[in-house]
Amino acid sequence: MKESTALRELSFGPSINEALRQEMRRDPNVIVIGEDIAGAAGRAHLGFVDAWGGPMRATRGLITEFGPERVIDTPISEMGFVGAAVGAAMSGLRPVVEVMFVDLIGMCYDQIINQAAKMHYMMGGRVKVPMVIRTAYGTRGDKRSYGGGAAAHHSQTLYSVLAHIPGLKVVVPSTAYNAKGLTIAAIRDDGPVVVLEHKFLGLQAKGHVPEEPYVVPIGKAAIVRPGKDVTLCGAGRMTHLCVEAADALAKDGIAAEVIDLLTLNPLDEETIFESVRRTHRLIVVDEDTPVCSMARDIAARVAENVFDYLDAPVKTVTAADTPVPFSAVLEAIYTPRVEQILEAVRQQMG
């Protein structure tokens, strides 16, 4: 007999929306704050509410349930409102801040790296800063005939400069399922957590999302596809690239294991090490630029800890070491591609 209720599926933005909504219901101290997170601020009397809802529409509809006291549109003042979230977190709230695009962390970097990240440590563990920074990142990377994407100020990844900071947890969901669970985990965490949301996951991220609240633990990677011949490891959209590569390799009889990092800091080293001990080969795929990157950090950790298990040098596939170009033909080769992963595997197997 046919199932009467199919498993409910959600796409990426709506799953984050549900996480925010459920945590706001659960805890009246959770607020969301940022630019145009509701939109049409102050215009309810004219019949306008909830005009936008962020690049992923992740905050759409929250204002109609929780009102403007807990869903706070801001002026264009990142330095001010991220800093205000730090102070609010120190004094009883659990703010979820939206920095519209990760490129804009330049505007509020002091509050993130000097204030939020270090407050707990500097004050001898006596102060907590339970805040979340949600921010959109990433390139589309497809090759259209001409024209381009959002260029150097609206396409970056930049998670390396966040994961670099001690005291800051950094998570990168790749699917609707782990986006909801990681967002809830981030809100419930007593320290500052940055959640990086890829702008162009599309249908790849869509899938079953349970209706009840749940946590995907911070600091734990996931093996999304088991294999014995080579380990491919990525985060966000790169995880899907690794799966595509694994599909292609399977046709050649190569069983690739795919690890979705999910958290960049603190990194789940053991899942990576354990996989390398079995497959003896590692390729790290990283959408950020290569210098001081997660890719090279992971390569170094593997070299230091499980070098003896490697049958080939660790390979990294990263964005080009350039700003993000505008032209679509350049953006397509700036961003990591499946064929680069396949080439890296061929080199390791050769």
Partner: protein, 345 residues
Amino acid sequence: MIVSKATPGAAAEVGAPNAREPVQQCLWLYERMSLIRQFEERLKWLVETGAPVGPVHFYIGQEAVAVGVCAALEETDWVASTHRGHGHCIAKGVEVAPMMAELFGKLSGTNRGKGGSMHITDITKHILGVNPINGAGVAHAVGAALSAKVRKTKQVAVAFFGEGSAGVGTVHECMNMAAIWKLPLVFVCENNGYAQTTPVEYACAVGKIADRAAAYGMPGVTVDGQDVFAVLRAASDAVERARSGAGPSLVECMTYRYFGHHQSDDTTRYRPAEEEKAAKGRDCLKGFRDRMASEGPLTLAQLDAVDQKNKLRMDEAVEFAKSGPLPEAADLHTDVYVPAEKSPS
């Protein structure tokens, strides 16, 4: 009153921004406003018919601000622009063909396909950049004004910014620094009422952005940004003050963007239809034409000829953009660093 009933001169086709002769000046003002409008309308059509030009922020409706301000400038004066920067570029004299090629991601574009709409610029026209990081360009204009002062060049810098960016800390820091150093700078706030969907009355604690000038000890005026002559008068006063060494000013131009924040934005979610209708009824180009019809010195036939010429320029610009070469793979890695041999030893 700038405009008189002078007879149009034979060589008055293009005009010149700083010409004291009214016919020349009026021709230039209209030619630039019309060219911006046509560039943006053509671009809008291209977007709507599927051209993947990336995110674009149309300047349609605000033409009188860019043109009125740039008409008060010398060629070597500096301008720093915003994310909504096509109008500033055209007003400052950037050619529309390489601009359009840039939007098509072509090597023949102003930025060799590296920048796109949000970075489109031409430094040879003394534009410090179009810039989608709110408030960033304002600081660059402070720097250009500082440079002019230190090097004693008599140049003036203009910082264009939106009323949304008036909330950015950088802008406040810049106003204070420009004032304490008496820099040759004009802050031009284009108040189009909305930062994406956020209305100015929500985001700004005082009624006018110009009121903030008092806090930094500089003059602040609010003018009708749909009247190119009003913008030009205010800008000329501020530029003269800046060039004389008396320091910066703030000119707030009340204007309206006719369409969404960018091509995917739906204004019906946050703007009343009556407001849009009323604002579009005060169109700067229509206002200019009405004024010429009643007061001169130009005739409507002359203005139609300008429009027609601009239409041909836009046809050529689109053709230039479409036929230009795409960048090649090696171009990805060019211009990340200045090669050592190109730096002074």
